[in-house]
């Protein structure tokens, strides 16, 4: 008994000193850090030294990385980006609602409602199958061309509709995968309590499904933020078009670089956040 206690005391005293394993792992970690830093430095150095050596670097620098042009156009680009943000802001909720509705259409089991289900299937097939830009052209010019009066023929309106229709198809599929990922035992439990299938969907399945697909939907909404720029093809002067105007006037591509930076400033934090959510969810489920 005394022996045992002595042993334990010795071990806890030793714990203040690093164990052999801790020393070894510390060494390995330091070594990895050194190698990683050295190789990163080497690559960056090669890029910094090698790229300017390319014969066309001077020309590329002048037309893509021109500080004067950048300074002159950046405020205008930032201002135009507000339109992108606004379009995103009114499209995103509509996409979420329509996407959910389509997902529910596809989940309908009653034979009388089969047309709804068929509609859901056709809808997702068609709008996931056609490039966004084509949908924007066809709806943005085509529907107003039917003779709608102002302001109902606005390219902002119909361009947004095109984005909403397209992205709702993707979001619907994500919701559907979420709904299907909820274990059948949850439906059984709800059914055994006498809940109707509508109540089961609304109170049991959907709340879980929607939460589960938040990261996947976030990725879609990041893609949407970028695709908002496609609306420029039918008239709205958002950041991509504004950059194009500057490019045309100044014969210089630097405004595009500026626009890219503005997009990155928004999308990188958003993707990081989505990744973070995704990892958190994976930890919780394992």
């Amino acid at each position: 008994m005394a022996d045992l206690q002595a042993n334990r005391a010795a071990r806890s005293a030793a714990r203040r000193e690093p164990t052999r394993r801790q020393i070894y792992e510390g060494k390995v970690r330091r070594r990895s850090l050194t190698i990683a830093a050295a190789s990163t430095l080497a690559v960056v150095a090669v890029l910094i030294v090698a790229i300017p050596l390319a014969p066309g670097w001077a020309a590329v620098k002048k037309s893509f990385f021109n500080p004067d042009v950048f300074a002159k156009t950046f405020p205008g680009l930032l201002n135009a980006f507000l339109l992108d943000v606004a379009i995103f802001a009114w499209c995103a909720p509509a996409i979420a609602i329509l996407g959910l509705a389509i997902a529910l259409c596809r989940d309908v089991r009653a034979p009388a409602l089969y047309p709804l289900r068929l509609f859901g299937i056709l809808y997702t097939d068609i709008f996931r199958g056609v490039p966004v830009i084509l949908v924007i052209y066809l709806i943005g010019f085509g529907v107003p061309g039917l003779g709608l009066p102002r302001p109902w023929n606005s390219p902002y309106l119909w361009g947004s509709v095109a984005l909403i229709l397209t992205y709702a198809a993707y979001v619907a599929e994500v919701f559907r995968s979420g709904i299907e990922s909820i274990h059948a035992s949850q439906r059984s439990a709800a059914a055994s309590l006498g809940l109707s299938s509508a109540d089961t969907m609304r109170y049991v399945i959907l709340p879980q499904a929607v939460r589960r697909v938040v990261p996947a939907n976030m990725n879609l909404f990041i893609a949407l933020q970028k695709d908002v720029a496609l609306l420029s093809f039918i008239g709205p002067v958002e950041i991509f078009r504004q950059a194009g105007v500057y490019k045309s006037l100044l014969a210089n591509f630097t405004p595009y670089v500026g626009a890219a930076l503005i997009f990155l400033a928004v999308t990188i934090p958003a993707t990081r956040f989505a990744d973070h959510l995704m990892q958190k969810q994976m930890r919780e489920r394992s």
Partner: protein
């Protein structure tokens, strides 16, 4: 309280016949235990009684009324027959008390306020008074299973079905759940259990049914089935599990 009667119930999944002509009589206030190896059809039988699985042939009578008629709305029946599952199946996004109140609110249209006294009583009775606001993942397995039982009881069922409700529990948590069943038994609840807890079945059941390959191979009062099984296959099974 009610009686449940099964006549020649047949259920198959594709080519796999799971129940092959089950006759079973559950008297009002009785406790019937289904025993048998995994895959013998115990769970399927319970799911059929709750109409979670439609049966292929035969009849299920609740108080003498056929509830297995194809096309019959299962909801009213399920409100009279409660069920508790092996893996608890609590709704993970709701607190314990929300889990319990959901069905009475939606099905019976009662308000939270109206339900609360009764529900709080149930939690109190099963030792869960301080767990009402907890989410399922904040509860132990035994607590979750007791919440699941409370959830079924909150619908005031006439018959309760229990599908191996202690099988997913750590051994030290089994007792607290069996105590709940014991309490229900004393109240005279009509119960059908699929279980591996032979001691518990022997102690409390009115009738024990040994299922094998989709049929009730042997049934009778627990003392007789456990101490003097008539069939060789029953003897073999009991030798392995006791």
């Amino acid at each position: 309280m009610a009686t449940l009667e099964l006549q020649g119930v047949v259920k198959s999944f594709g080519a796999n016949i799971v129940l092959d002509g089950i006759d079973l009589d559950v008297q009002d206030g009785a406790m019937v235990c289904l025993i048998g190896a995994s895959g013998s059809g115990k769970s399927t039988l319970l799911r059929c009684m709750n109409l979670l699985e439609p049966i292929d042939d035969g009849m299920i009578l609740l108080d003498g009324n056929d509830i297995s008629t194809p096309g019959l709305d299962p909801q009213p029946v399920r409100q009279r027959i409660g069920m508790v599952f092996q893996s608890f199946n609590l709704f993970p996004h709701m607190t314990a008390v929300e889990n319990v109140m959901l069905a009475p609110r939606r099905v019976h249209g009662k308000s939270r306020e109206a339900l609360l006294p009764n529900v709080a009583d149930l939690f109190e009775r099963f030792g869960l008074a301080d767990r009402m606001g907890h989410y399922p993942d904040q509860l132990s397995g035994g607590q979750q299973q007791r919440v699941a039982i409370v959830r079924a009881l909150a619908m005031t069922p006439e018959i309760m079905l229990f599908d191996e409700i202690t099988s997913a529990l750590d051994p030290e948590l089994v007792g607290e759940v069996l105590d709940v069943l014991r309490a229900l038994r004393e109240e005279g609840m009509t119960m059908v259990l699929a279980t591996h807890e032979m001691g518990f079945a022997r102690e409390l059941a009115d009738k024990v049914c040994f299922l094998d390959q989709g049929v009730i191979f042997e049934e009778g009062p627990p003392d007789r089935v456990f101490s003097a099984p008539e069939r060789e296959r029953t003897r073999e099974f009991l030798r392995r599990v006791l």
